[in-house]
């Protein structure tokens, strides 16, 4: 292949306690789209951050057009023509399109900015790239897709030859996705090399030429996209057969645990109704901003709702806050364990009993001995790997931290579990442990409502999947009916 546009050779990177990348090599040709896939924690973002100069690699080489380069900062990377478009776009929202596009080299006249000239040259840049945007628009008024297009235009204008897109379609509808793919194709023709990171495998098959799979910091392989298939790719990503990875059992469904009727938060969710029975996992599927998270947060009393009723075991529950929800037997696993799940500077045992303090000891007194017993029990049962229960939580791995949040939920004795991304950013082994615990809970008569943005997890663990789009329920599928295509289609209805 001659000398590739970009080569990353034998890249390794270690963080305290984690080998984030081990001897990973990738190659990108001019005018090529390389897919980069892997589960959360596989090492994709570390690799990209090394390429962008955010992190320093421990060992390895980066070559651009066969020349070894040393990327110490994002500005080094930008100088070499590398541009990373992160999921969260960094635009200057209070400024205009022209200012965003030309930031750093606005034309001046007698020391003042020449606005007319600026708008003219911005219009010219946009026209050449066939992009229909008014240079005078305030960027904050643009849609996510328009901002994305603006960022791409800015990158190309600054002579970027290597473009990395991290989950570019996460917040896009179907139409905008198609428009983005159009732009990617025209970039290819101009010889730009693109690294395309996505969890949406269907898109990876549609737009990439080759695809590299990472798992647990290692490169598993690179495939020619047109010769690969979905099952093969997923198998490489999770490292084992799907049936083995998702320990789904046949559990009979029992009584109704929770009935949600017409749940409404003005302008966010509208008339959401569904029920949860014991023994089942109900998946709430939707895109970013669909309102699925607001449903879960409202059920736990974290978001106020204006309309609707929540019935728990036959009686109407007034969920005014987390303590009320817990009293009704509803437990919540937050999406971000560090933000809402754990007191990181406190001990494992303190965290495990944190949602159950009032029941540890009689009267006003807290019983340390009882806490020790309870915590020790859960550490064993949930298989938390920790030196002892007095260890501070922030010294443990993500997987073990997540298990502590789960143990905290179990300790409350809840029957209804609201799980927001239960396996986000944790290692494969811990994932399987958590799936096992979820199945155990169902077998013991609990019911789980789960949000997951990992489609394989959703398709394999949920008994029923309810699709939420623009705040409404657009479809419901049984486990047997559901496919990736059907789910994604329902999100655009």
């Amino acid at each position: 292949m001659g000398s590739a546009l970009l080569e990353m050779r034998g890249i390794s990177k270690q963080f305290p306690g984690v080998q984030a990348l081990q001897d990973v090599s990738i190659e990108l040709g001019a005018g090529e789209v390389l897919g980069l896939v892997g589960e959360n924690g596989a090492g994709k973002s570390t690799l990209i951050k090394i390429l962008n100069g955010d992190y320093r690699m421990d060992t390895g080489d980066i070559l651009i057009n066969g020349q070894k380069v040393d990327l110490r900062s994002p500005s080094d990377a930008a100088e070499k023509g590398i541009r990373v478009l992160y999921q969260e776009l960094i635009t200057l929202d209070t400024l205009t399109v022209a200012e965003n596009l030309l930031v750093g080299h606005l034309p001046t006249r007698r020391g003042l900015v020449d606005w007319k000239g600026a708008n003219e040259s911005a219009r010219e840049v946009l026209r050449r790239m066939n992009i229909n945007l008014d240079p005078r628009t305030i960027v904050g008024d643009l849609s996510v897709h328009q901002k994305q297009v603006l960022e791409i235009a800015k990158a190309v204008h600054k002579k970027a030859t290597i473009l990395v897109m991290d989950e570019p379609t996460a917040a896009l509808g179907e139409e905008d996705t198609l428009s983005l793919f159009g732009i990617i194709k025209s970039l290819k023709e101009q010889g730009v090399g693109i690294i395309y990171i996505s969890h949406r495998l269907k898109e990876v098959f549609e737009i990439t030429d080759r695809v590299t799979v990472l798992r647990d910091g290692q490169k598993i392989g690179t495939l020619q996209t047109d010769q690969a298939n979905m099952a093969q790719l997923i198998g490489m990503m999770v490292g084992r057969e799907l049936e083995e990875f998702y320990p789904k059992r046949e559990i009979p469904v029992g009584e109704v645990l929770m009935q949600v009727e017409g749940l409404t938060i003005n302008g966010i969710i509208d008339q959401i109704s569904f029920s949860l029975r014991s023994g089942e996992i109900v998946g709430l599927f939707g895109l970013l901003g669909s309102g699925r998270m607001n449903v879960l947060r409202a059920l736990y009393g974290l978001d106020q709702y204006e309309g609707g009723t929540i019935t728990v075991k036959g009686s109407t529950a007034v969920v005014t806050g987390p303590n009320g929800a817990l009293a009704s037997g509803i437990g919540y696993l937050p999406i971000d364990r560090k933000l809402e799940g754990l007191a990181l500077s406190l001990a494992v045992s303190t965290n495990i009993t944190m949602a159950n303090i009032d029941r540890i000891g009689a009267g006003l007194f807290f019983n340390n001995e009882l806490e020790r017993q309870r915590a020790t029990k859960w550490v064993e049962e949930v298989a938390i790997r920790t030196p002892d229960i007095a260890t501070e939580v922030n010294s443990l791995s993500g997987g073990n931290q997540q298990k502590i949040v789960l143990a905290k939920l179990l300790e409350t004795g809840s029957k209804i579990f609201l799980m927001n991304e239960p396996t986000r950013g944790i290692d494969v082994g811990s994932k399987v442990d958590i799936y096992q615990m979820m199945e155990n809970l169902c077998e013991a008569g609990a019911g789980i409502i789960m949000i997951s943005s990992e489609l394989p997890e959703m398709l394999s663990m949920a008994d029923r999947i309810i699709v939420v789009a623009k705040g409404r329920i657009t479809a419901e599928f049984s486990r047997q009916e559901a496919t990736q295509e059907k789910l994604l289609h329902a999100t655009t209805m």
């Binding site: 736990y300 974290l302 806050g321 987390p322 303590n323 929800a325 817990l326 919540y332 937050p334 933000l339 809402e340 799940g341 754990l342 007191a343 990181l344 500077s345 406190l346 001990a347 045992s349 303190t350 944190m354 949602a355 303090i357 009032d358 540890i360 000891g361 006003l364 007194f365 807290f366 340390n368 806490e371 020790r372 915590a375 229960i389 007095a390 260890t391 501070e392 939580v393 905290k408 409350t412």
Partner: protein
């Protein structure tokens, strides 16, 4: 003392580490007492030690409650104003044409403290206002009201109930009443913070308020209670000071915030929240008291010690900051 140290709240994390730093503080205290005893022949006398302990009682009591507030990541700097207003109100009521009887001054003072604490707590929890700004405002309001009430004068209050609280030495055991109140407060707070369910919630809120809320802890109710307790203990301190000086005046406890915050931080409570305990604060209060008294005994003046204390406060914060940075 070593026995007392063993009953630290268990398994809150960093346990062994904190044990040792509290121990270091108490060893430093013993060292200072020894040093001042050598430097000044008057230091190590029953009269001086007793005076010193009486003098630290009123600020020591509020330092105890402030420890809990700091652990939740909050702050209460209205305590000085609260103390001053309590003394002014007591003296004012006692000097009316129809004087309010001495026994009635106690519940009135406590009610005043509770009202001030509730005011702080309400604004800080319900409106989510910044605790520093809120209590700074309350500080100005309370001290200002003290000036209004006394027409900016000192009012004599020769009265027996406050006199008992502030001046009496219990005969036989020779222990001053303020010291008894200090000990009672610390025993209560020790159990409240280190042994009760409430105390556990205080630590959880300090370590991660959002997680505490999601865990069903009623964050606002806990915080409100803390500011309420802080207001009440400040009025107890106000009664002690009133009795000690037999005067109600708006300049009382001027700058006590500095003493109290220095003592609490010296005791190992972190400004960032989630960390600290009552024994550490007790050590901080005692060390500060010994330093003040000792430096006075060897000839320094109050103004000099004040400069030194300001520097000490910054040094303490810097030292703990460096230690925490080193660990991460």
């Amino acid at each position: 003392m070593a026995d007392a140290l063993h009953v630290e709240p268990e398994a809150l994390g960093k346990r062994r580490k904190r044990l040792s730093s509290t121990l270091i503080l108490f060893l430093a205290l013993v060292g200072m007492i020894a040093a001042f005893s050598v430097l000044s022949k008057d230091f190590y006398s029953f009269l001086n030690i007793s005076t010193m302990l009486t003098n630290i009682s009123f600020s020591g009591i509020v330092a105890g409650t402030l420890t809990m507030i700091l652990i939740t990541g909050g702050l209460d700097i209205s305590i000085g104003g609260n103390i001053a207003l309590t003394s002014c109100l007591a003296a004012y009521l006692f000097n009316l044409e129809n004087p309010v009887p001495g026994w009635a001054l106690i519940p009135i003072a406590l009610a005043l403290g509770a009202a001030i604490g509730a005011f702080n707590g309400l604004f800080i929890t319900r409106l989510d206002l910044n605790p520093i700004i809120t209590t700074l405002g309350t500080m100005a309001v309370t001290r200002g009201l003290g000036y209004v009430l006394t027409k900016s004068r000192s009012i004599l209050i020769m009265e027996d109930v406050t006199g008992f609280i502030g001046r009496t030495v219990i005969p036989g055991i020779q222990i001053p009443v303020p010291l008894v109140l200090l000990v009672i407060t610390y025993v209560l707070l020790f159990f409240l913070l280190g042994r009760s369910k409430f105390g556990r919630k205080v630590y959880c809120i300090g370590a991660n308020q959002a997680a505490a809320r999601v865990s069903g802890i009623r964050v606002n109710s806990v915080k409100f209670t803390l500011y309420l307790i802080s207001g009440i203990t400040a009025s107890v301190s106000g009664l002690i000071l009133t009795g000690q000086t037999a005067v109600g005046m708006p300049q009382h406890a001027n700058g006590v915030e500095l003493d109290v915050i220095t003592a609490v931080l010296l005791g190992g409570t972190a400004l960032s929240g989630g960390k600290g305990d009552i024994l550490g604060t007790l050590a901080g209060v005692l060390i500060l008291g010994v330093l003040y008294n000792g430096f006075t005994m060897i000839g320094f003046r109050y103004v000099h010690i004040r400069v030194f204390q300001g520097i000490l406060l910054i040094l303490i914060v810097a030292l703990y900051e460096l230690r925490d940075k080193k660990k991460t």
